[in-house]
């Protein structure tokens, strides 16, 4: 399927959905829309993913099957400056795939255009109606459950999870991926958008996925969300921690990060405090341990400096760690499997 990805003014640093799709999805990406960078190319900014031209808007995109909204701003609202591109896509008969909290199919104009041009709007973040509370039984599946947790949001939990899934499969292991966010769902084609479910059902929505896939694989790698110390998103993190009942945790971090993104008055506690918070909070429901770390060093240019950041993180964590995109996943995988 050929797609264009909307990432206005945010590509690539604050467009994790766009970058995730470029890196992991089976879509053929025809163009990225970023009105700040027309004429540039994806690989000018992100070297290790499929390349595509960056254009100013839908008018500069050829025939595609779908337009994907590749940005997930805090709050998940729809930016009205994107409306012409979405309307242009629908007028051309393109499907639109969105992971925003604002459901495009509930927008009268978009719904009318989709109807008139016989195309679909897929609001990935719209949860199913039949979700309910957790029964506390995710630990009964055959698979060992591994969950990525984070020091903040947007530090690379989804990326770490998908890299580990790929590396484990490359070794012949039987591994299932449990997507919990809009990008993971777009990439894997299924999943519950945990940050959008009724808060009482947060743990239950994760548990339901673990039960669905847990007897088919030897390992389930669960995509984590947010951070247990995040002023806004910790509820989602906590629900995933208790609902998935993980046997092992991988703590994800971004090198050099000192404060919560968007909440600059909240300092990140020491790594050792994260370890005791995550393990201590999980313990009464299901005992678990942080067995490895994943660190995003994309902000560090020099490889030697990046390796030093990894070593420093390993030392703080007391467990093997790696930048799973930049370096080798073997030591981290060894600690998990």
């Amino acid at each position: 399927m050929q797609v264009a990805i909307l990432a206005h003014e945010k590509f690539p640093g604050r467009a994790k959905t766009a970058v995730g799709i470029l890196r992991y999805a089976d879509y053929d990406v025809a163009a990225v829309l970023d009105r700040d960078r027309p004429g540039e190319r994806v690989t000018d900014h992100v070297p290790d993913v499929q390349d595509a031209p960056i254009v100013a808007g839908m008018d500069d995109v050829g025939d595609v099957d779908a337009l994907v909204i590749g940005i997930a701003p805090i709050g998940g609202g729809f930016d009205e400056s994107w409306r012409p591109d979405v309307e242009s896509a629908l007028e051309r008969g393109c499907d639109v795939i969105s992971g925003l909290h604002y459901f495009l199919e509930d927008d009268d104009e978009f719904a009318r255009l989709a109807e008139a041009n016989d195309c679909d709007i897929w609001d990935v973040r719209k949860p199913r109606d039949d979700l309910t509370v957790s029964q506390g039984v995710a630990d009964e599946v055959d698979a060992e459950v591994v969950l990525t947790v984070g020091t903040d949001c947007s530090v690379g939990k989804m990326t770490a999870t998908l890299e580990l899934v790929q590396a484990a499969r490359d070794r012949g292991e039987s591994v299932g991926f449990i997507p919990t966010g809009q990008t993971g769902i777009m990439i894997d084609g299924w999943g519950n958008p945990i940050d959008r479910v009724v808060s009482d059902f947060t743990a239950g929505a994760v548990e339901e996925m673990i039960l669905e896939r847990g007897d088919e694989y030897d390992y389930l790698f669960v995509e984590g969300q947010g951070s247990i110390v995040h002023p806004a998103y910790s509820a989602v993190t906590c629900g995933i921690l208790h609902g998935s009942m993980p046997d092992k945790l991988v703590l994800c971090h971004e090198a050099g990060k000192e404060v919560i993104h968007g909440y600059e008055s909240v300092s990140l506690p020491p790594i050792s405090e994260y370890v005791s918070l995550y393990e201590g909070l999980a313990h009464p429901v299901h005992e678990t341990e942080i067995v490895a770390g994943a660190i995003n060093t994309s902000g560090i240019e020099d490889d030697e400096d990046a390796r030093a950041a990894v070593a420093e993180y390993e030392s703080a964590l007391g467990a093997p760690a790696a930048d799973l995109v930049r370096f080798d996943a073997e030591a981290v995988l060894e600690a998990i499997l």
Copy 2:
């Protein structure tokens, strides 16, 4: 306003909404519906609230303005065995007030009857559409924020909060109540149903209420929900803890409780572990301390035994505690104010 309260097969032990309304709301309760106890009276079971007859169904109730659903089962579903009572109420022109996850106004038959008989269905748990993520600024209000937290759900957090509000007001203090659940909302007539909001907005929905009332009072007492170690509801607890940014916590417990209600394989950790979990989890966002405890001793008949349970809890907690319904609130209030 005259009301009847539906509490079939659950009154009083598992009907905390019904008991909360009998104890704290301004409604005049004409009858409680419990088909297991027709002919008995409320004060046969709960001595210290307004009395009312217990009847088998709406057919045995005289003129009332509203029927209140006084039970909140796990999952918040509607029990079809209640349908005749709800239909009978609507047919008589009674309003229906419900805190279930299942919205009665979305039930075609109920909606039709309400329309035909010119009465209202108030789904207390239906959240407003304009909620969003927390900004992490609840600590900027003038009021000192006090939050009740719990060792489990249904241990008396709402009751403790309302008792403390009343006791503090009796002393002339300026205190606002922040309701977070269906019963609290029914009692106080406003509030966001935190367990029903989009999980990403859990903290934000609490923050919004703190900001709305926080400059009008010297103290805000926030009704907590669930427990930080609850397999299903911990997400809601965590969101309230970070969203309300409390200055002080009151840990609520039920005497003799050993396992999580409905999740018998999950043992309650020691009280000291709750203290470190709640304080440790809050700390990176906003420093707080458990300054007092509230213990529900309603399962203990003898007053001396109940006092011994309070003393044991105080000792485990390392802070003053009381059964705020059964005994005096002064020592606990002293620790808070």
